[in-house]
Amino acid sequence: MLRIPCPFCGPRDESEFAYGGEAHIARPENSWTLSDGDWADYVFMRTNPKGRHAERWRHSHGCGRWFNALRDTATHEIVATYRIGEPTPTGRR
């Protein structure tokens, strides 16, 4: 069981949270001008790193808020959590 520090509620059990995929993926502006390939890139292509990964989580059985977490995909260490709109703590994706 991971303990994930919700930026609002503090550390809680992983079972209170829902995973929301990679963070910081902006919807392209003027999406109607995109080629199918570019649209597929936006919808499907993810970085899938081994190591630190910025991702979205939702505290669904707690305060209900979305937030971002920086998690190491190899060790499961939650390096940091931060509110939506705040920069990634390490300054890198």
Partner: protein, 199 residues
């Protein structure tokens, strides 16, 4: 409430009054189904204006710190999330009063009273029982009386409100009430469980 249906608690079928005891000296935990309360889910930005209106019309402040609650008389305001609260009251007209008071403001008030069953878990072993099914740290240093949290208890989503040192009020969806009550009886068995009627 649909016309013609009798209003009854989610645990009425368990006939708790018949099992209730007066003497609880040997019980590690005391379980009570609390009487009906009006529960209002309120969502708003806690601007000074909104907080003033609420305290004028409902007589209660709005806690803005996570996991805090406020109480004034029979009205309680429980923090559920940023910009979300559960207002709990004994007075039936709370929703109407809030709707009137917040007219023209970007605030939602939703009557969720019938969605919940409220179980009070009290006694010296209350925290031990909770620890069996909930990952929340209920130590005095982080979760003293007055604190409130939504969490999972035995996999059921609950709103946990610590109202006194050894008293927790558990708001649970009424469809989970029977399950949770039985889980609490089972989890509390080793400490001794007494069913107590609400005062």
């Amino acid at each position: 409430m649909a016309d013609g249906l009798p209003a009854q608690g989610a645990l009425a079928h368990r006939r708790l009054a018949a099992c209730a005891v007066e003497e609880t000296r040997d019980a590690g935990v005391r379980l009570t189904e609390m009487p009906f309360r009006v529960c209002i889910n309120m969502r708003a930005q806690a601007t000074p204006e909104v907080r003033t209106i609420l305290s004028q019309h409902a007589g209660c402040g709005l806690p803005v710190q996570p996991m805090e609650s406020a109480r004034r008389g029979t009205l309680g305001a429980l923090w559920l999330g940023p910009e979300e609260w559960l207002l709990v009251s004994g007075s039936d007209d709370l929703r109407d009063r809030l709707v009137t008071a917040f007219r023209g403001h970007f605030v939602t008030v939703t009557d969720v009273s019938d969605a919940y069953c409220i179980v009070r878990l009290a006694g010296p072993a209350a925290r031990d029982v909770l620890a069996k099914g909930c990952g929340l740290d209920t130590h005095d240093s982080v979760f003293p009386p007055g604190k409130v949290a939504r969490s999972l208890l035995a996999k059921a989503e609950v709103t946990l409100h610590r109202t006194a040192a050894d008293v927790f009020e558990i708001y649970v969806a009424r469809s989970y009430a029977d399950y949770l009550w039985r889980w609490l009886e089972d989890a509390g068995a080793e400490y001794g469980v007494a069913v107590v009627e609400a005062a």
